[in-house]
Amino acid sequence: MSHRLPKGGRLIDRSKSQNFTFNGKSMAGFQGDTVAASLLANDQMLLGRSFKYHRPRGVVAAGAEEPNALLGLGQSNRYEPNQSATTTELFDGLEAVSQNHWPSLEFDLLSVNNLVPQFLTAGFYYKTFLRPRAFWKHVYEPLIRRSAGLGKAPAPDARDPDRYEQIYAFTDILVLGGGIAGLQAALAAGQSGAKVTLWEQTAHWGGRAPVDGAQIDGQPAQDWINATVARLHAMDNVQLRTRCMGAGVHDHGYVLGYERVADHMPGADTPRHRLWRMRARQIITATGAIERPLSFAGNDVPGVMLASALRDYIVNYAVAPGARIVVVTNNDDAYRSAIAAHDAGLDVAAIIDPRAVASGDLPARARALGIEVLEGRAIRKVKGGKRVTGVEICRQDSSGGAVERSIDCDAVAMSGGWSPVVHLWSHCGGKLLWDEAGSYFRPDPARPPLGADGAGFVRACGAANGELLDVLSDAHRCARMAADAVGANGQPDAAPQATAPAEAPMQPVWMMPAQASYDLRMKMWLDYQNDVKVSDVQLSAREGYQSVEHTKRYTTLGMATDQGKLSNINGLAILSDALGQPIPATGTTTFRPPYTPISIAAIAGEARGAIFQPLRRSPVHDWHADHGAEWEPVGQWRRPFAYLRTGESRHDAVNREVKNTRENVGLLDASTLGKILVRGPDAGRFLDMLYTNMISTLKPGKCRYGLMCNENGFLMDDGVVARLDGDSFLVHTTSGGADHIHAWMEDWLQCEWWDWQVHTVNLTEQFAQFAVVGPKARVLLDRLGGMDVSRDALPFMEWRDGMLGGFDARVFRISFSGELSFEIAVPAGQGRAFWDRLVTEGADLGLMPYGTEALHILRAEKGFIMIGDETDGTVIPQDLGLDWAISKKKADFLGKRGMEREAMVNPDRWKLVGVETLDGSVLPHAALAVTGGKNANGQAQTEGRVTSTYYSANLGRGIAMALVRNGPDRMGDVLSFAGDDGKDIKARIIDPVLIDKEGAKQNV
């Protein structure tokens, strides 16, 4: 029976009762409990089922290393699977459910797997399920998936209602872990004058020391801890934070901290988690050590737990995991657990110690209390199914054949020694040493992780450094070195002295008994959650998966949610033994962040919903939204695709806009177009390099259309350049290209032609820019007044500055539609007022705004190319018949060399033409023209591709452009485009310019 003790409990407040449910059953605990503690207090030892065999699972640990006690917490939108009961604080109203069983925790049908463990060995699935082939997808895999997977996933449409946030912070010295080592390190570092931050993952300071009963400077550890925390709080240069776990150490001193701000007070009006992105110059890991289980048969039966955990439950929470306890240990420390249990009034049936003699102070003390100590002995087997009922004892140096004695008990406390928590040391490349005496890996100070300056930036201290006894001076020393490294040279107080009973050496015991038979080894769990046993690791070695990394992946050892905190060292000891090599030759697997799992939500942070990504808005964005705009994302901008009137389809709206623009007047928000000022004595020369055509010859007041290629010769951007004056040009780019082209210009100016005198200024957002397009465009501008926009005053491809209708305007006479067209730029702040004015003044002229789709159709009717449609990053200007825009005179421009390559001058390149279906229908997007043959790989051969295809309301039929092999030489030829359902579509090659070939409309 696990139960609450009548007295004690360091961390609980008995005056604050908290009600919760487990699998629907009401239970009560106290404030300060962890969920695991309160469940044990309610005699709930069985908490879940294991991954593979669905074996019953109970609590093994009391902290972050817990592999078993994972629960589903909360309901509906706040439901969360796989929450560790040992690190979750109890709160009133908490709802928990157990996981991985069907139909119930007590009775799990899939535990039949457990009946045939001989078949379900490591890697069995690689050897079977091979036939029949289709069964893998339809039968075997679904079965495997259903039985795997631990907790239930949240509902498909669950929406997490909580808030999450992230924060950047900076510190000289970051101390991870608030045990006595961390506190002392923070104190000494703080006293040196450095800026110090100290994080503790739990809600409490002090770590293990208060549980272990240590004395510091002659006072109980707890008193020293309280005093030290108070001193630290009083220091301006020290920041302390509990419930904040060092999750990962990354390059150049970047550390992630996972702060569980409100997990213990759900619904509070605060962020639930906060992710710290700390940049530390020095990091001290004072993360303590983790006790190792022992490998004996049945070591996974609920009721078997770590000796330190048993002690924690008794001392911290006044919870007794059992009434009659057997302790099994290869070291002196676990005797403390026996003593604590005894002191709490529990029956300690025996201490089983595989060492030949147990002679330290602590064993002596235990014996003095009347506890029986069985030396040289081992647990042969734990009895019981869902709960320990007893143990069988044998000699440690046997094969376990002979049972010497059986002891009834309901809890077993085990200790196989301690392993320093080296995770954070290792994340960024810190290397480890094997410590023979303690049988653990600890940080090798000669091979730390290296920072930006090439020097080590992580140091370990205390138990995390393998220093189990002289913790405080180690921490002190470590802090002083870290302070030195950051140039803080204040003199800290001397390190305090801790006193503890002397401990005799531990003896490594990797298997119990030492020569255990196969039957026993098959029941010795290494990885509790993933059901990896001693026999599995041995099989893996036998089959040649000899690298520790192979064994990990073949057996899944250490791949569960606890990442092998309990199992890894034991596992690699077994592997080393099987391979007949020393443990350090086997080495560890790679330690990877996070230290314990962190919420996906915290990683996403605040970037959700409206602030998921920036959305760039033009100055008239709201007007569009209010007038039926269907949006089209263009980079981070939104542009109206079309403006839908009530009851109108997208298609109808587009047709209306297209027709109206050619018949009356259309209005386009072109504010998103890039506008870059290029200025300086060498501006012309620079633009001649950037554009394929000649720009330097452009006269002030005039505009020219230009093409930009990358150095492969591929067309990258196009747009109109206006010459403002002798040494200033205004370059227009595509909406998506503005930032890129600006960066591209700066790259060339700063890194290649740094002696050229050119400045660029990105003015994209300075101006709102609207296109007024159509036969009535001039009428509209004349109505606004203030500027002469007549044909003579402002001819095609020229621009003028002036006041238009009282607005500061720059008017360009350019056309992307073939219509009479003006693009008018006004300062962005005037954009909305100017737009409103145009809409009002144009109303009786039939003015309608049009969106990007109409824009596309209008340009396609004129055979104008569109970056991103006719180009895709593999098209050169020559492919598009734009040879006229490639200067023959210039010795060099970006892309010229690339265009010289053999594949670029190949006469068989596909070139731009118009195509029209014989029946006037609209060609499918991206349709390919087929020739009928097959290539060497059996693929249908093609000779062309549709790049743009639309229904033209003006022409009343489908129009399209295509890239076709030798296309311009094949006018009138009929191509076969592969249609849907294997039917070909016949289409004729035509001139791409379909409207007003002479340009009469735009020149009026």
Partner: protein, 188 residues
Amino acid sequence: MSDRETSALPGAHFAGFVTVSEAGLRGMITLRGDLSSDAIAGALADVTGLDMPAQRCVNSAGDMAAAWMSPDELLLMLPYDQAGAMAQKLAQALAGEFATVANVSDARAVFTLQGAGVFDALAKICPVDFSEFDQGEIRRTRAAQVAAAVWMSGADQVTVVCFRSVAQYMFDLLSAAAAPGSEPALYT
């Protein structure tokens, strides 16, 4: 026309553990040229009365300020309606120099954060150590996913400038960072 021009988010205001307000229209002029040259410093002083600011610093006098943006870029801040004329004056003063002047007043949005926790809010979105941030210093950086410039414009007051098109994003972001109940107690 009285409301001929508007700032990006007129009147936007959020009261969290710090207040976030859109600051309205501000005049801004970009001056490009070698800031270490005497000619440019001279022109600046002549036209504005301001000394050339040191690297990453802001010099101000009255309602005008000059901020060092890069070795060859200066940002001049002044009342919105003076920007056009000032840009012209500067350009004239710099005629013959390799220098470029552009009025960029409309390209930006400006926010004011006020309160003891201004850095606590900003620390959530800017990867900057504000404990090393001095009055008179301007820091160009990233605010979550967009570019921003930040400086201390008064006691417990920070000014944040971003591009106009992302004003709403910036405002939402700052409001979320300043949400009541989310005080991180980092700088306070």
